[in-house]
């Protein structure tokens, strides 16, 4: 119970501090904070907006899990951005080339995306263990190589043959209907009224849930997850304990990349091709979401939803003119910063309390009892 309180105190406190600071900022901008928050909440209370939020939170969550797998063993995979965009392109192209029954078609596309993401992230892992290249540097480089190099090049080569270039026809050849992940409106509508405005709840949400559960089981129930955490906490101790460090690094990078490969599936289910303007920045957004969610499978759900909610609020704030839409970015930044500070503070308090408890125990009793 005490541990849970400690864990919850930081994010709740961070959110409260964020609201205070944002309110001050809003007042300075000449807006009424209560009006702005009211508009955001009443907009978010609509079912259609909730679908938007879930659709936005899904790629954020996948991206956060991808980053968190690395963070858990002190690997900073900054390359999620390049990995998911590259995986999206290859998966879209492969998917357009085949015609299969729906289940196999979707599975093939997802497998290709995960494999490409894993392989591309694996490059950074291999470079680290064989040549000692810091993965931060190599993944940033690989981002540039993927986005400005490989994608730009292959995108041209695979541009669908056509007479008329319009923004709707640009991109790779469209994937057959059978390769597109269906929406899961029906699943949500069991609990709610029918979803209007033609909004579709992405089926990738289910994949994200599975990934979250798998991530949780990996960390808590599997040997690999234990090795991963051990390597992160103390690589030398882990090594002494029989965890092969090189294999762990490569495996963790590949796993992180494989999850990253799934990020683009949300967009692919929607557009059915690699469009010339894919949604970028999700890889970096995921790092923030992972930090805020403390790499915890449940915590990241909350932080992904929070970020998605803030993103989606930007439209309504502009429409009602209750506040400038930049307030959304400001809130995202502040909540992250305050949370990191709060985590630091609670950790320090926790450590001090533990130290005091140990000291008291040492003072008041025999050493043997403490050990026991």
């Amino acid at each position: 119970m005490r541990r849970f309180l400690f864990a919850a105190a930081a994010p709740v406190g961070a959110l409260a501090v964020t609201l205070v600071i944002t309110s001050i900022a809003l007042i300075l901008f000449g807006s009424n904070p209560l009006e702005a928050y009211g508009d955001m909440l009443s907009h978010a209370s609509k079912l259609e907006t909730q679908v938007d939020i879930l659709n936005r939170a899904t790629p954020y969550y996948l991206s956060a899990v991808a980053a968190a797998i690395g963070f858990r063993m002190n690997l900073f995979n900054i390359g999620v951005e390049g990995q998911y965009l590259f995986a999206l392109l290859i998966a879209a192209q492969v998917g357009s080339l085949v015609a299969l029954p729906q289940v196999f078609h979707i599975l093939l596309i997802m497998t290709v995306a995960m494999a490409v993401g894993a392989a591309y992230a694996g490059i950074a892992g291999v470079l680290k263990v064989t040549r000692g290249v810091n993965e931060v540097i190599s993944t940033i480089m690989l981002n540039s190589i993927a986005i400005s190099g490989l994608i730009a090049l292959l995108q041209q080569r695979w541009q669908a043959e056509q007479e008329n270039f319009t923004s709707t026809t640009l991109g790779t050849n469209p994937i057959d209907e059978s390769g597109l992940m269906p929406n899961i409106n029906g699943l949500l509508e069991i609990f709610t009224r029918d979803i209007g405005q033609g909004k579709e709840l992405t089926g990738v949400l289910l994949v994200a849930v599975l990934v979250g559960v798998a991530y949780h089981l990996l960390l808590t129930r599997m040997r690999f997850g234990f090795d991963l955490r051990a390597s992160g906490l103390n690589p030398f101790a882990a090594r002494a304990g029989g965890v092969p460090p090189k294999q762990m690094i490569v495996a963790a990078m590949c796993l992180s990349g494989a999850v990253a490969g799934l990020i683009g599936m949300v967009e692919l289910a929607d557009t059915g091709k690699f469009s010339p303007n894919p949604i970028k920045g999700l890889g970096f957004g995921g790092i923030a979401v992972a930090l805020l969610g403390r790499n915890h499978p449940g915590g990241m759900v909350l932080s992904a939803l929070l970020f998605a909610f803030l993103d989606v609020s930007s439209g309504i704030l502009q429409n009602t003119e209750a506040a400038t839409k930049e307030i959304v970015n400001i809130m995202q930044g502040i909540v992250l910063l305050v949370a990191v500070v709060a985590y630091g503070v609670t950790k320090r308090i926790q450590t001090r309390e533990e130290a005091r408890a140990t000291a008291e125990a040492l003072r008041s009793s025999e050493p043997a009892e403490v050990l026991a």
Binding site: A152, N164, F165, T166, N277, S314, N319, K325, G333, V341
Partner: protein, 414 residues
Amino acid sequence: MRKKSTLILALLAVLSLLAAACGSDVADVASDAADAAGDAAEAVEDTVDDAMEDDAMEDEDADHSADDDAMEDEDAMEDEPAMADSDTTVGLVYDIGGRGDLSFNDSAAAGLEKAQADLGVAFTEASPNNDGSDRAELLQIAADGNPIVIGVGFLFEGDAVAVAAENPDTNFAVIDSSMLDFSQDPPGPYGDNVAGLVFAEEQGSYLVGVAAALKTESNQLGFIGGVCCFGLIEKFEAGFRAGALSVNPDIEIVSQYITDAPDFDGFNQPDRAQVIATTMYEDGADIIYHAAGGAGNGMFQAAKDYSEDNGSKVWGIGVDSDQFNTIGAVDESLQEYVLTSMLKRVDTAVFEILKAQNDGAFAAGPNVYDLSVDGVGYSTSGGFVDDIVDDLEAAKASIIAGDVVVPTDPTEVG
């Protein structure tokens, strides 16, 4: 003590973040993104002239009469300065970055304000997230409260089609896209409530071609296109050539494109534009017209460098917005090399479609804005073409009168 310093540090950190966020950073990022988006917007306008002409033919009579009506109304409006009050409200969604981009978005905003002043149209405005992920959401929010929704830039094409299908009672207009469904045969509008607002770029290019031919001393001109072979930028080249040759049939015009479609990077490569422009100036051209979006800045830089190195002044001609002003915001020293700019009047398009909506004359499919409605034009900022304005106005009048038909295909021009 420790506690206190930690607290102060934390507060400082938060405040600095706040300052950074409120400060120029956000605006910079946003305007960069907007530039890129604007350039891309030019890149992918569909231009199947045949298809459009076929379509236009059928509606031609109707269009003309509508135009005439519109003209008359406008005159009437000028006579009586009364501020009309209209039931029409509009939700306008800018491209990424919103107001302040000195280009498409600001021009759209100007049209919006004119419609508010002249027609009494009330508006709400919005711009997407930096990654553009919420375009459809913004269109839907705008459609919830307004009879007409405008998307600034072709990037709204796909989302506008989808949202329009769900909101049949709301009209949608997208700037810089014809909004033609090419899966139909012949291509037609996506729906009765979907219009595309496009421009007769060849007519504006003709006028700056005339200006270049009148101003050149070496009788050599250059043209730099951003991206070749998807049917849009050729219109600029054809108009420019035709305009220049109409003044002097012996004039020499070299043209070069930075990239070929579907590689649209040409619009974002000022370095390559600079290399091409430098070569053209060295080969004797003294005026170059660019239709290369953001890459065009490289051309103006080349004009400045060449002029300073060789002591003989060379010029560049801008495109889309009044580049004397837009480039002045980036680097004032380049202003004196902007002879004129071919204007794409997004403000006119916004105003005209709102006027049509107000008059109950919203027309689905492509709405082409040409010289007759000031949909395209040339700029006089800097005063470098003040001495030839009469010639330019004469050329403009003869195009509007139909005496000159500007070609859209450069291979048709001598």
